[in-house]
């Protein structure tokens, strides 16, 4: 039953945003001017398109993030039961971290963490 509240919250967010935009539409008169639709770039017409190649650094960080994020998802169930399992869980997580850290060191050695 609780999940229905999520739908309620989504509806509330849409109502809030759409309502605000609709109210603003009523009050605004607005004028047409070809320069209004231009992208902002220091007051002069924009040169070139921003939709082209981009710095590869962001891509590398996103890849490393993906590995660590998956690891983090694995650790939530581990964290819940760690007190019941006891000292075995500690050794398991140390092995887990060791393997992960080796991969991290490899990425670091290859220069993936260096900003170009």
């Amino acid at each position: 039953m609780g999940a229905a509240y999520l739908l309620v919250l989504i509806a509330a967010a849409i109502a809030f945003s759409a309502g605000g935009i609709a109210i603003a539409k009523i009050f605004v008169k607005g004028s047409t001017n070809p320069q209004k639709g231009q992208a902002y770039e220091c007051g002069i017409p924009a040169v070139g398109s921003p939709w082209n190649q981009f710095n590869v650094g962001y891509y590398l960080f996103a890849l490393i993030f993906l590995i660590f994020d998956v690891e983090l998802v694995f650790m939530y169930p581990w964290a819940v039961v760690v007190k019941q399992v006891g000292i075995t869980a500690l050794f398991e997580i140390i092995v887990f971290f060791f393997i992960l850290f080796m991969g991290f060191l490899y990425a670091h050695k290859k220069g993936a963490l260096k900003w170009i």
């Binding site: 919250l9 989504i10 967010a13 945003s17 639709g37 231009q38 962001y58 960080f61 819940v80």
Partner: protein, 358 residues
């Protein structure tokens, strides 16, 4: 003593007695929706005026003082001004995504409110994986920001969105690890259970140095997650005009602005719940009479007091530290915070298993 729990049960009983079950449920949904919207609007107004007043106080100036007593209605006046502004969509923009992005950001901000316990027995949905839910949903807001930046067809926007994406995904790891170090102690992801486990003291004090380290890491990482100074690279006004919302104006800009403040509130609420005991009053072990005196302060005041203290801390950072460069920012996360929080988690596991905490 006034408590929100008795108020909700009162309203629920009255609804169930007066209406048939289906209509009572419908009324309950409407009340929840209206309350959530009211909380949003109130938080937006309060946090904006608080930010400006704190900034003024730190810089030894007056701040806004014209509208209303001591300028308290300044943010309401700003809202009226924003409603009067025209919401433009640039000609070159991807129109659908451009208009969708503020909705996504708002939806994420609203959804994360669901499991947070505002007072004793007062929450929207007491979900048993509360903390995991919060960290899962809040990472969706990166998509909204990237969408806004990419669809604007503006170089500043795209650069801001890319920086924001890299920063938010990186710092999410540290937030996750420092949250996990508390989960190890409580053995439950339910927010109510986490609060109840702090009945004889807050985890920040009970679990020695590892808890303090993870609290510091948590505060640094959430400051970066919410794109606040000194990590406000995504909207660094002196280099990127306004970052990912350069092209937004009027109400759509207001929605981004509001969502940003709501996100600050939410991360501070989570921090307060995990480390400072949420709505739990300040208790010390078995000092019965002291604990009893503390119980007289209503629980929702404790919750909002702790949350606003953390918000004040984050606002304080903004006027204390200079902005980082993008490579410094990523170095800080990947070369310092992440290894430290991994080692800290192992230390915390040892503390939890050996039972060295109070």
């Amino acid at each position: 003593m006034f408590s929100l729990e008795s108020l909700t049960t009162l309203v629920q009983d009255w609804l169930n007695k007066t209406f048939p079950p289906a209509i009572a449920l419908l009324f309950e949904f409407v009340i929840v929706g209206v309350l959530a919207i009211a909380l949003f609007a109130a938080l937006g107004l309060v946090l904006v005026i608080m930010e400006r007043k704190v900034a003024a106080w730190i810089q030894i100036r007056l701040g806004p003082n014209r509208v209303g007593p001591k300028g308290m209605f300044q943010s309401a006046a700003d809202t009226v001004k924003l409603i009067m502004k025209e919401g433009l969509t640039p000609d070159g923009a991807d129109k659908f995504l451009f208009n969708l992005a503020p909705f996504i950001v708002m939806m994420v901000a609203m959804l994360v409110l669901a499991p947070i316990g505002f007072a004793k027995g007062f929450h929207i949905w007491d979900i048993n994986i509360g903390v995991l839910y919060v960290s899962a949903i809040s990472s969706v807001s990166v998509i909204g920001i990237l969408m806004a930046g990419w669809s604007s067809n503006n170089k500043y926007s795209l650069l801001g969105a890319m920086r924001s994406g890299a920063q938010m995904v990186s710092y999410e790891l540290s937030v996750g690890l420092s949250v996990l170090s508390i989960i190890v102690l409580t053995g439950s992801l339910n927010i109510n259970d986490i609060v109840l486990s702090q009945q004889n003291g807050w985890w920040l004090f009970k679990a020695h140095i590892p808890a303090i380290i993870s609290f510091v890491i948590f505060i640094i990482a959430v400051t970066a997650e919410t794109n606040r100074a000194p990590f406000d690279l995504s909207e660094a006004e002196s280099e990127l005009t306004a970052g990912f919302h350069t092209e937004y104006s009027g109400m759509k800009f207001a929605l981004f602005f509001l969502a940003e403040y709501i996100n600050i509130f939410i991360v501070c609420a989570i921090g307060a719940t995990l480390f400072l005991g949420g709505w739990m009053p300040f208790h010390i072990g078995n000092w019965e009479s002291f604990n009893h005196v503390m119980d007289y302060i209503p629980t929702f005041l404790w919750f909002f007091g702790k949350t606003f203290f953390l918000i004040f801390l984050i606002m304080w950072f903004r006027w204390t530290f200079p902005r980082l460069r993008v490579d410094q920012l990523l170095n800080l996360e990947w070369k310092y915070l992440l290894p430290i929080s991994m080692v800290n988690l192992i230390m915390m596991t040892l503390v939890a298993i050996k039972g060295w905490h109070f």
